[in-house]
């Protein structure tokens, strides 16, 4: 048995979990007293709300130590990053009402709709008021009424993000389900499965097929959420997870696969497809049937696109026109990883060549994207925002997204997928000499192995 002890014990836990979800011990108490927000939970789980305020899910930022050209003392994340999957961020594209469109209507828009606060206590806020504003139930209830989770104006005219704080919702408490996490993760980037393009169900992911949920792998302790090294996921709670963390480096019965894990990431063989948005144009927005404008987007289904393979040493090249992996065949630490390639068109500063950001409210109402650039430049305190917007130059940015879900066993890449003459890897582009590439695409490499397999199968 090569299966690591960790995966074994995990499997045991899974078998247990498939029996009905245990009832939350706090239920009868909440039934009696009702739900008044985090303070109700705090009676039995003291300190949880304050603890949550220190995490990426509240701050949308953290210090980042593996991305070049960043200030090591500053914090980066969706709060303030400027890139082209979302050309806005929580600061410049703060939740607000758009100007009126041609039909005289307005609606609410803003990046911080993906934040579990109420907007009055916003991304990164602290103190007792912020603690009281956390939406515990969006992650912990299986009976959440999403009609409540909508932006609206309060009686003082302030934009508030609604929450379901009903006692009913608080009676169905437990570990977060896939649906809880997908509340935000599915809709990121401007539509269902646009950003990362991964659906998590039994048809698309081997772990989902085994009954696993997000937090079986992203097992948060004290609300610190483990993440990996996706070149475009910068903010982190300082806790990392990996495939090998559960499976070890040599999980296969077949030595031929284990021999590859030193140079080739698990994902490369086990995640042969990717999906989601391929390209977006933020400089030209299209008018929809409802009279509002949206960025022009080219979308693909989960599993519809082939990844690009590159060496990655887990540090990130960060340039105005490129965000992606550093690494090479020769550096002794890089592995080959699969990436989802995305290209976004947006405005660049004529003077500095830096990428500019956009407030979505103006273009959403009128299609005027430069007005969005001007508003963002003003929010950021840039000199002469009107001139910046007028001079801005459209350009493309390429982003390499990590591809870490949609795991398959049956469709994993086999010897011929890579070592065949028309395999998925371009050995020369990956740094192999002509002679090496010839050797790596000769049947000598896989012939014996596959003949053996053929015998076993028939």
């Amino acid at each position: 048995m090569r299966r690591s002890a960790l995966v074994g014990s995990m499997l045991f836990a899974l078998l247990q979990a498939t029996s009905a979800r245990a009832e939350h011990p706090g239920k009868s108490e909440i039934e009696k007293s009702g739900y008044a927000g985090p303070s109700t939970c705090e009676r039995c789980h003291p300190g949880k709300a304050k603890e949550f305020l220190g995490t990426v899910h509240w701050k949308h930022a953290s210090r980042v130590d593996n991305v070049e050209h960043l200030d090591p003392k500053a914090e980066y994340g969706m709060k303030n990053r400027i890139y082209t999957m979302c050309n806005g961020n929580d600061v410049v594209n703060d939740l607000k009402e758009t100007p009126k469109n041609a039909a005289g209507k307005s609606k609410f828009t803003g990046c911080n709709t993906c934040h579990p606060g109420n907007h009055l206590s916003d991304v990164g806020s602290t103190g007792p008021e912020a603690e009281a504003a956390v939406d515990c139930l969006v992650c912990h209830s299986t009976d959440y009424d999403f009609r409540q989770r909508k932006p609206h104006l309060d009686d003082r005219g302030r934009v508030v993000m609604g929450q379901d704080r009903s006692t009913k919702a608080a009676l169905s408490i437990g570990k977060p389900t896939v649906k809880n996490c997908m509340t935000c993760h599915e809709a990121a980037g401007g539509g269902v499965l646009v950003k990362r393009g991964f659906a998590f169900n039994k048809d698309t992911d081997a772990h989902a097929a085994k009954g696993m949920v997000c937090v079986d792998c992203h097992a948060a302790k004290n609300h610190k959420m483990p993440t990996g090294y996706d070149p475009n996921n910068w903010a982190n709670d300082g806790v990392r997870l990996s495939c090998a963390g559960c499976h070890g480096e040599k999980p296969h019965k077949l030595a031929a696969y284990n021999d590859h894990t030193a140079r080739i990431a698990c994902q490369t063989c086990h995640i042969p497809r990717t999906g989601g948005a391929v390209a977006k144009d933020f400089t030209v927005w299209e008018r929809g049937a409802d009279g509002y404008y949206e960025p022009t987007t080219l979308k693909k289904e989960a599993n519809e696109t082939a990844p690009v393979y590159a060496w990655y040493d887990k540090t990130v090249r960060n340039e105005p026109h490129f965000i992606g992996p550093h690494g090479s065949r020769k550096d002794g630490k890089s592995k080959l990883y699969p990436f989802k390639i995305y290209m976004g068109k947006a405005f660049y500063d004529r003077k500095t060549g830096q990428l500019l950001s956009m407030d979505f409210a103006p273009p959403m109402a009128t299609g005027d994207t430069r007005a969005g650039v001007e508003s963002a430049a003003r929010t950021l305190g840039m000199k002469n925002p009107a001139q910046v917007a007028k001079d801005a130059v459209p350009g493309w940015q390429t982003i390499y997204f990590g591809s870490d879900h949609l795991v398959t066993r049956s469709k994993a890449l086999n010897c011929i997928n890579c070592h065949g003459v028309n395999g998925v890897l371009d050995f020369k582009a990956l740094g192999y000499s002509h002679a090496e590439a010839r050797k790596l695409t000769n049947p000598e490499i896989y012939f014996k192995q596959l003949v053996q397999q053929q015998k076993e199968e028939w």
Binding site: Y144, F146, K179, A188, G190, G191, V192, L193, A289, D290
Partner: protein, 111 residues
């Protein structure tokens, strides 16, 4: 005259194959319709419902189309109101037994 006959046969076979291909392609495009529209009404009966209908107003034609929804993920989104009346939907459906059965039903908007 053996040769021409066999050539004829080959041609005839090719024609059959070609016709079949056209048939399949034609059928597939006739059976599956794509549309974008706004939900004007959702009808679903209770928490355990295995089927629901949603009426979409087609953005292009303005016509109301009644869609039958059967997949668990979308039904669940009706039940917890993740999808509500007024949402714009990208939808694919197939005509089956007089019903427009959804094969794809997603909100166009995101964050």
């Amino acid at each position: 005259m053996k040769k021409p006959a066999s050539i004829m046969l080959v041609v005839a076979r090719m024609l059959v194959v070609a016709l079949m291909l056209v048939g399949i392609a034609g059928k597939a495009s006739a059976a599956e319709t794509k549309m974008v529209g706004v939900i004007t009404q959702i009808e679903i009966s209770g928490k355990d419902a295995k089927v629901a209908t949603a009426t979409l107003k087609d953005n292009k034609t303005g016509e109301a189309v009644v869609i039958t929804v059967q997949d668990d993920l979308t039904l669940d989104k009706f039940k917890d109101h993740r999808i509500v009346e007024g949402d714009e939907i990208r939808c694919k459906y197939e005509a089956k037994d007089g019903k427009n059965v959804s094969t794809y039903f997603r909100k166009t908007a995101g964050c």
